[in-house]
Amino acid sequence: MTQLTMAKAINEGLRRAMADDPKVLVMGEDIGKLGGVFRITDGLLDQFGAQRVIDTPLAESGIMGAAVGLAFRGYRPVVEIQFDGFVYPAFDQIVCQVAKLHYRTRGNVTMPITIRIPWAGGVGAAEHHSESPEAYFVHTSGLRVVAVSNPQDAFVMLRQAIASNDPVVYFEPKRLYHAKGEVDLEADLADAPPMGLARVAREGTDVTLLTYGAQVATAMDAATAAEDDGVSIEVIDLRSISPVDYRTVTASVRKTGRVVVTHEAAREAGVGAELIASVTERCFNYLEAAPARVTGHDIPYPPAKLEKHHLPDLDRILDAVDRVLDRPNSLTGVEL
């Protein structure tokens, strides 16, 4: 095991994938000499050369469309979108081409494209640099969507995403880039848990807390705080949000009877809405209380000085835990 930051773990994942398969290319803005604005591609240009580490013109649709063409040709492009809020110009190529070409061609053409997106807030960034657009991609059939929460998963799941013959949107929480963790760099990829499996990050008996990405760390803090209060929270790191591992999710909810979902993204028609709808369909008779969502507000991402009021923090999570436990909370006496 090796201590690595998440940024370094992703870098090592790219390096390994490129070493394992000569068809793997990385492409994006500033990913060559600079090593990417977050240094995720640091050293790859020197090691693999400009034919495989491609600094592109500043045009996200162009990057994505060119990746489609490279995939047509048998390559496995790994596209870096510089920031979450910059992915929208590529949206048409992702939705109409990347996601649909395998279906359109009746399986004759595969799109093994990995779309890496430095993602979400909490880093005091300028507008368009802190967004959580994952629901758009979860809603798009043909894509797989994952969100990593720790260096080990970041390393393994990136390699799994690149090895997948389906397109994968891979969300990297910016505020965890410098968080360290143990990474097993030697383990065989075949022995790793499949990309689509959720992970019980902490076992508990009273409330199931579903989350993914950087919010896993906040959820774990909330669970620790709740323990002092005599409440046992089971935290599930979904890892994959398309598909969702409902086997793991429902097993937990059937045990606890109470469920809270938390994510940074806005609430309306978000991933939490889908999770709660699906959990309710599957576990209605096991539920002891109405499920609760703890999400970003339904607002454009606010200015950095105000983001702490937007991001669902430990206290907001515990407030929702109180709600599902029918203990006094911010909504006590409020008609929704």
Partner: protein, 374 residues
């Protein structure tokens, strides 16, 4: 009120400012840029080009008829554009890779598409039929201009593989306004990718005349991206063949991308759902009918002694045979089983979709086979 015409508007809509080798009357003329690229074209080759154009027009005629008879949901006619499509497509090598739009019937015919390949998608049975790798031609693209980037990416792959293949993208005058086409030109130029852009300027993007897309000839934009371009008479099959040979050779030699604007005319509606009488003059259509791409080759062939009744009858018989095959492929088409809607969404198992599929299969089974019969 005074009305000032932007002088540049004349440039965009001037359909005579084009390079050509064959006049609308079928007179063979010289062009210093194009001439050498078709020096080998003899009477037999001309006959072959003529034949391809007639056959493609027949596929198109059959397609329109099948739509009118309710056998196809839609059809996007290519009448008038046969020279652009056949002339450029005949310049390819089999191992070049083509990214067509939905109207490139003639291009796909040359690439090796079979009768069913022209109709099954328009009938709504499948989104595509042929395997793109069988004829090195992508599934026709419906999103305007999106395929231009795919062609560039494919060409970047060719560069990495070190072969002398070329990729090509076909799109229209309307697509020239799309960001994707402009980004494709930027990428192609930046990477010197071996890709050829063929802009079929058929004067109309549904109801919008080409002047709405720009006030300057489309071919004139490419040099600004660092890409050499040619503006040719798109109703002149020899000019189209010559220009495409130039562009492909340029790319094959490692000189990077090239751009061709083929100035032609969409004689029919945008699709069978369109009504062009609402937005364009009969006179304009008649003017273009006199510039018909097939008639001028026939005139040249007659002048060269390469067109007699026997040849005409032979081509007509081939066209009839192909038309009948297209019709048979349409009428003989079968639909996938209902559960087939789930096929190929993903290449690998997806627990969420697999669950829906399992449910839908059970739901269908509940009808005891009646659903399939419905």
């Amino acid at each position: 009120m005074t009305h000032t015409l932007n002088p540049l508007a004349d440039l965009a809509t001037d359909t005579d400012d084009v390079a050509r080798l064959l006049t609308p009357d079928g007179e063979r003329i010289a062009d210093p840029d194009l001439e050498r690229w078709v020096a080998d074209v003899d009477t037999a080759m001309l006959q072959s080009l003529y034949r391809d154009m007639v056959l493609v027009r027949r596929i198109d005629t059959e397609g329109v008829a099948l739509q009118r008879q309710g056998q196809l949901g839609l059809w996007a006619p290519c009448q008038g554009q046969e020279a652009t499509q056949i002339g450029t497509a005949r310049a390819f090598r089999a191992d070049d890779f083509v990214f067509p739009s939905y109207r490139e019937i003639g291009v796909n015919y040359v690439r090796g598409a079979k009768p069913a390949d022209f109709v099954i998608a328009w009938r709504g049975e499948e989104h595509s039929t042929y395997n793109p790798y069988d004829i090195n031609t992508a599934t026709p693209q419906i999103i305007i201009g999106a395929q231009s980037l795919h062609a560039v990416g494919y060409a970047m792959g060719i560069q990495r593989d070190g072969t002398d293949q070329v990729s090509a993208a076909y799109f229209g005058d309307g697509a020239s306004s799309q960001g994707d086409v402009n980004e494709a030109l930027v990428f192609a130029s930046s990477f010197r990718a071996p890709v050829v852009f063929v802009c079929t300027n058929n004067q109309w993007a549904i109801s919008e005349p080409v002047a709405v897309q720009g006030r300057f000839p489309i071919a004139g934009r490419a040099p600004g991206f660092g890409i050499p371009s040619m503006r040719v008479d798109g109703n002149d099959v020899l000019a189209c063949l010559a220009a495409m040979r130039w562009a492909l050779e340029n790319a094959r030699r490692g000189n990077g991308p090239a751009f061709i604007e083929a100035v032609t005319y969409r004689m029919g509606p945008h699709t069978t759902s369109d009504d062009p009488t609402r937005y364009r003059d009969k006179d304009e259509v008649e003017r273009w009918r006199r510039r018909d791409p097939i008639a001028r080759v026939e005139a040249l062939l007659r002048a060269e002694g390469g067109f007699d009744d026997a040849f005409a009858a032979e081509v007509a018989a081939d066209a009839d045979r192909l038309g009948a095959e297209v019709r048979a492929a349409t009428l003989g088409a079968t639909s996938r089983e209902p559960i087939g809607v789930f096929d190929h969404v993903y290449e690998e198992p997806h627990s969420g979709l697999d669950e829906q599929r399992t449910w839908f299969a059970a739901y269908l089974d509940g009808f005891g086979g009646e659903e399939a019969a419905r």
